[in-house]
Structures are given as C-alpha cells and as structure tokens.
C-alpha cells in the first residue's frame, strides 16, 4: 500500500510543481496585485490576450470603478486613459475582441450585483444585436474568478503561466508581432466577416428582452446607461444596404434608443469616409476614439448623432 502511495505522489508531483508556478507567477493577478510595471505590461500583453474577461474581471475586483465600458473590439478601443484625459474619471474597459451581447449582459449583472455603478457605456453594432450570436465567454470567466481551484486548473492560467515563465527565463519583453495579413488583405477579410454576420442576421428577441431588463434596472438604480455605435468605414456601412437590412437597422436603433441614450458615430461623414481614420473597416484609430470620448463625456455631438432615451418606444 505504501509503495502505491509513493507512486501516486510521484505521479502527481508535476501537478504540484505546476500549481506552485501558477501561484508564484499569478498571470491574472489573482492572488497578488502586480506592482512591477514591466511585469504588469507583460501580463497585460500575454495573459490578458489569452482571456480578456478573466483578466479584466479580476482587475475590476481589485480596483472597482463606478464607470465601465462594455462591448466588443470596437468598444475596446475606447481606452480608459482617454476618459481620464477628459474629466479625470477612472474608468475600466471590460470590452473584449469578438465580445457578444451575451457577454455584455453577463458582465453587467455580475458587476452591478456587487458594486454601485454610476455610468455604463455599451458599445454595440447591428452585427452583435443578432439572435444567433450567443457566445458566452463571461460565465466561465466568472466561475474561474470565483474559485481558486478553477483558477489553478484551467488552460488560460496554465498557458499564461508558461508564456510568462518563458518570457522571464529568456528575458523577453513585450514585442509587437507581425500581423499575418497585409492591411489590404485584412481590410477585405473584415468585410467578408461582416458579410457573414449580416447574412445570418436574425432579429434578437432574446437580447431585446435582456437589454430591456438592464434598462429598467438602470432606471431604478439611477445608473446612466449609454449606448455607443462606433464608427466603421463607409465601405462596411454599405453592407447593411447590400444585404437589404435597412429596416432591421432602423429597428435596431429604435430598440437601442428605447433602452438608453445613444451616440451613433456610424454614418457617412468626414471621419468614416477616410480610410486613414481606420486600422481596418471596423476599428477606428486612437485619435477617433479620443474624439468620440470627448463628444460623449461633454455631450457635444459633432460626429455623433445623439438620441436621448425614448420612453415611448418601449414595447
């Protein structure tokens, strides 16, 4: 029997070493807040990319803010620093690349159940406001965040630990990787992706009801709920027309206005007509993000079409 126990101990020893490494390196700052700026940057570039939601939810747990930004990669470009530049306010951006509305809804309920929120910005687009986009990456992240064993025994922690260990051992810094596509190729790729989303578009009764609940909750709890439609290049905007989704687009906007105030930057104008204002047809450059944030915070819409929440629209 003792021989057997000895074998079991040898067998599990790699796992014990791994767990020890995960605790020491702590890629998502679960156990300790990272004070070393270089390490923080490294974690931000390696671990956050592995699981943005987990990283940000833990960050929020450590430093809760009253203002949050939720949404997809377009909303992710609304950097917290840009908010601070305008009014000195601390903001946490919990948006993530390929984030779905499902993710937005799940984060909202998780955060609002634990902290008092003042303002919630939700980046939204018609592609995301679709009945079939149901991907939920937030629930698993919340589960992991709430459980030490899950944190230690999931692939994101493991992978990030290995990457950070490698970076530490070989003294690697944060390096910008070469993109796999040329700008033009990526531009076309994003247009094709947009077509794919629009082709499968269905009206989201499920999201309508969920957002309505959020809207009612915000009204009851005096939380400012602001929706943002980020600018996209006109080439991409035209896809809505191409797929004959104009009526759906109008309905989408009407729905959003019934939930909260809306800043719509996505219409043909000086910004959206110029390719140079975009990294790709979907994502604007930093200076555009700065303009957007300024217009929203100061409520001086110039490139945004502002619509105040309409109470008559609620079905």
């Amino acid at each position: 029997m003792w021989n057997f126990i000895k074998k079991i101990l040898i067998f599990i020893s790699p796992f014990i070493i791994l767990i020890a490494l995960e605790v020491i390196i702590d890629p998502f700052n679960y156990f300790f807040g990272e004070k070393n700026p270089a390490q923080l940057e490294l974690k931000n570039s390696l671990a956050r990319k592995k699981n943005t939601y987990l990283y940000r939810l833990i960050e929020y747990e450590r430093n809760p803010t009253k203002t949050i930004v939720l949404g997809d990669s377009r909303a992710q470009r609304l950097m917290p620093d840009f908010f601070t530049e305008v009014n000195g306010e601390k903001v946490l951006n919990l948006a993530a690349g390929a984030g779905s509305l499902q993710d937005v809804i799940k984060i909202f309920w998780d955060l609002s159940s634990r902290n008092k929120l003042d303002t919630v910005y939700i980046g939204i687009g018609i592609e995301g406001y679709s009945g079939t986009l149901l991907k939920d990456r937030v629930s698993p992240a919340i589960e992991v965040k709430n459980s030490i064993p899950l944190y230690l025994m999931n692939k994101f922690t493991l992978e990030s630990t290995m990457l950070l260990l490698k970076a530490r051992l070989f003294n690697q810094g944060v390096e910008a990787a070469n993109p796999p596509f040329s700008r033009e190729q990526f531009w076309q790729y994003e247009l094709r992706e947009e077509e794919r989303y629009l082709r499968n578009y269905t009206y989201p009764k499920n999201y309508y009801n969920e957002l309505k609940k959020i809207s009612e909750y915000c009204a009851e709890n005096k939380i400012k709920l602001i929706f943002i439609i980020s600018p996209t290049h006109t080439e991409l905007q035209n896809k809505v027309n191409e797929f004959k989704l104009n009526r759906e687009y109008e309905r989408f906007k009407a729905d959003i206005i019934s939930f909260g105030d809306l800043y719509d930057f996505n219409w043909p104008n000086v910004i959206t007509e110029k390719k140079n204002n975009f990294l790709d047809p979907l994502h604007s450059i930093d200076s555009v993000s700065r303009i957007m944030i300024k217009e929203i915070i100061l409520n001086k819409p110039e490139y945004a079409k502002y619509s105040k929440q309409s109470t008559t629209n609620i079905k």
């Binding site: 029997m1 021989n3 057997f4 067998f11 790699p14 796992f15 009945g131 079939t132 149901l134 991907k135 939920d136 629930s139 698993p140 589960e143 992991v144 459980s147 064993p149 899950l150 025994m153 999931n154 692939k155 493991l158 794919r196 082709r199 499968n200 269905t202 989201p204 009764k205 499920n206």
Partner: protein, 479 residues
Amino acid sequence: MVFTSFNFLIFFPAVLVVYFLLPQKFRWVFLLVASYYFYLNTKPVYALLLAGVTLTTYFFALQIQKAKSEKKKRQLLIIDVVITLLPLFFFKYFNFVNEGIFTLLNYAGLGLALPQISFLLPVGISFYTFMALGYVIDVYNEDIDAEENFGIVALFLSFFPVVMSGPIERASNMFPQFKSKIQFNSGMVVSGLQLMLWGYFMKLAVADRLSIYIDAVFNNVDQHVGSSLLLASLMQPIRVYGDLGGYSLIAIGCAKVMGFNVIPNFNRPFFATTMSEFWRRWHMSLIQWLTDYVYTPLAFTFRKWGVWGIALALNLTFIISGAWHGAALNYLVWGAIQGIALSVEMLTRSKKDAFEERFNLKTRWWYIMIGCVLTYLLFAFSLSFGGTADTVPEVFHIFGRILTDSLHWPYKDGDTMLYGFIAFSILFIKDFMEEYYPGRIRLFGNENITVRWLSYYCVIFLIFYLGIFSGENFVYFQF
C-alpha cells in the same frame, strides 16, 4: 455533491483513506455515513425520502420472505410496489396528471384549476426506486434472500457512486460485496482510477463542450436556422453518451477503487448496427432492469399472441421507459419510437438475416457502416422527443424548421465546434479501436510504465484543455 465538483475531489480521497484504514467490520457503516453525507449535499430534506424508501424496502422484503402463502406474498409485493412508487409518482407525475385532468375537465366545460405544486425532483429518485423495487421483486421470486441487516439495505440504496444516476444496481451483485472482506488491491485502485479519468474526459471534454452549442441552439430555437437545429440534433446522442456514459464510468471507477464491482452501463453504443443491438449497448443497467421486471413478465402474459405478443410487450416496455425518463407526452412518443423500431426489426429479422447471408453482407465494412449510421440517425431522431424539446408540438416545430430552413450555414461557434470535434474524435477512435481491434493499441493498460503514465498525463491535459469546468450538471439528474 456531483462528481465534477471540487468538493468531490476532496470528499473521495478522504473517504478512501478512512475506508482503508478502518477495520473491515466498520467499513460498511462508514460507507453508509459517507453515502448519506454525499446525498445530503444536494438537498438535505430529500434524504428523508431515501430513508423512507429504504425502510419500506427492508420491511417488505423481510415480510415477503416470511409469508407462508403465495397469495400473501403477492399482496405484500403489491403494497410494497405501490408505496415505493408513490414518491416517484408524486414528484415526477403529479403535475403531468394534474394538467391532464385539467384539460379533460376543460373539454367537459368545467374550467376547474387544480393546484399546481412546484418542487425539485429529488436527485436519483428514479434510480434508487428501481433498485429498491428490483430487490423486493428478487426476494419475491426467491432469487435472493431478504437481507436482515438494515444497514446493508440502506447502503445498497444510497451507495454514493451510484445513487445519483446509476448504474441501476442489483442486490444480488452488491449485498455479497458489502458483506465480504475487501483488501486494498492496487490493481483494482488503478483500474478504477483509469475508468474515472476516462469518465471525466467524456463528461467534461465531450458532453459539456457539446452542450454549449446544443444549448445555445435549443434554448433559442426561433433565432436559429434549420441547419443549426439539425446539427445540434445530430450532436445530441454524443452529448448524452458523454454525459451518462462518463458519469457511469466515474461511478463504476469510484466503486472499483474501493474494491466493488458495479455492473457496466455502456458498451460502445455507436457501433451498433441495429436498434436491438443498440439497446444492448446503451444504458444497459436500465434496459436489463426493464427486461427482467417489465418485458419478461409482459411477454409471458402475451405469449398466446406469438410474435405480436412480443411486439406488444416491447412497445409497452419502452413506453414505460419513456415515462420513467420524463412526465410528458414527448417521452412517451420517444418510447413508442423505440418500441416500433425494435418490433419492426424483430418481425423482419428472419428475412433480413437471409438477405444478409445470401449476399454475405455481415462482414462487409460498408454494410456495417451503413447500419451504424442508420441506427445513429434513428436514435438521434427519437432523442428529439426524449428531452430536446418540452412538448410534442415543439419537436414538430423543430422538424419543420429543419426541413424548410436548412439551406444556410449553421450557427458557427468556432472554439466549441473545434474542441468538441477533437474531443469526440478521440472518444470515437478509442471506441473504434476497442470495438474492431481490441488489444491492438494499449495505453492505459500498457505494461510499460512510461507509456502508461504518458497516456494518463495526456488525458489529464486534454481534460484541462478541452474540458468545461463551469459546473454543468449531469443530464440524467433530471430523471
């Protein structure tokens, strides 16, 4: 407590250590306490129900054995069956019957609303009820002696590896094991841990991964195109196999680590070429139970009608199986589909055998493959009634969408589909090798310790990498 919870990962090793350190005569007592602790972790009050069923079973088994006349024995058996089934009927069928009565009254112009009762179905009730009934019927049939030690009966019905979702054990298998002296056996422990490891892979990497896609589609039927519904319907049997098959392996493995042999529940079901073969490989403990206690007596009763009597017995057995799975009309339809398929196979067997022999088809790989695919499709189709949707009209709504709205790309969830496909492929290859080339490639069973340990590490890695750890419950907990 569920097998996939971290509580269980602490509970089980702790139970093992104490179990093997205790003197033999106290071990069953400790297992009984541990089993009730395990069960109490779900909803404590329902442990009273389990205790009630245990008390009834113990009492009536002894009384039946003591009864002098056949008539008295029969009366006692009927009373026991009624009392044992009462909680199951109440918790599972009350609202179903209630709604039925309400509908009938409504047709008669009496719109009387009877009170609805809202409660959770006690976990495992369908399983331990069947185990209890099986034991008492065995005593009645004089296949087994009534157990005088109340603790052994209580342990049999609450034994923690099987109490939640089976396998549906037999007293004749478990009583002698509970009473025997079990020595620590490293071979049994290793073999049990191997089963558990594979069970976790099936549950976490296959079933829970596919559940993400299937639930996303079936929870929002109207938002999805027909092709997504078709794809999710086709994934459903794999999900259930991963779920219940995985659970069963963990349960069997747990018991084995402690030195107990529990009956198997699955035997590579997707390599069955006919429905009758499928049902000899799928949820075997339930089917064996139904065969012994429902089908055989029914077939005996209807024997004067020849093959048609057998067909009737088959249909009734599977309709009862459907009712056991759920209190709704769709489950009965699910049972009827199985019954009809098996009856057709039985009635055409001689002609089919002659045809196969004439063209020597039974050994042709393509013929076997067609048989496997058709059996799978038929089962997937029937499963639409067996839990995919809540009502028959909803099932037809799904079928309608599949038939009219499938010329689109299905809903794409890249990670889930890719990881699910990898996990299922690994499971499929393992089952395929064991089915057609047994012993050709040995990983867990390899004599070389390096190969063996590497394969363990690989599977653990795959579970971490492909698995879902969000505390998904087991599908069969609802039954």
